[in-house]
Assembly symmetry: C2
Homo-oligomer: 77 residues x 2
């Protein structure tokens, strides 16, 4: 059993109102050193040892991310 991590982020050209809200809150809380925040999704999948990375990439593409507006990365945990 292997654990694989899929991180899904909005493409850079897509507006991210959640990240903007966090950035605004950080400013009000006094954290001036942060100049940008982007929010995405994080998935941890337990896959069979014989499953290869292309299967996880297909899962990410079809179910976890919307490839029109989102990018994703696949990496071992």
């Amino acid at each position: 059993m292997a654990r694989v991590v899929v991180d899904v982020t909005l493409k850079p050209e897509i507006l991210d109102p959640q990240g903007q809200a966090i950035l605004g809150a950080l400013g009000r809380l006094g954290y001036a050193g942060v100049t940008g925040v982007r929010q995405g999704k994080h998935f941890e999948l337990d896959v069979a040892d014989d499953a290869d990375e292309s299967v996880v990439a297909r899962i990410a593409e079809t179910l976890l991310a919307n490839p029109v507006i989102e990018d994703f990365t696949v990496r071992p945990a």
Copy 2:
């Protein structure tokens, strides 16, 4: 300017209905090799070069994660 990634996941003992829903959908789509899915949040922060990791950890603890039910990791992008 450095980019730091904060990943927030539910603690293992906390139920994850979103992950369960994804796991059910994967089964119906024919991906039998996946035995577990947990969903979390992924944040990318642009921080000043002189900000150290403890500042980002404090931000994660107070604003990005709920430490009662969630764990978080901080790593450079």
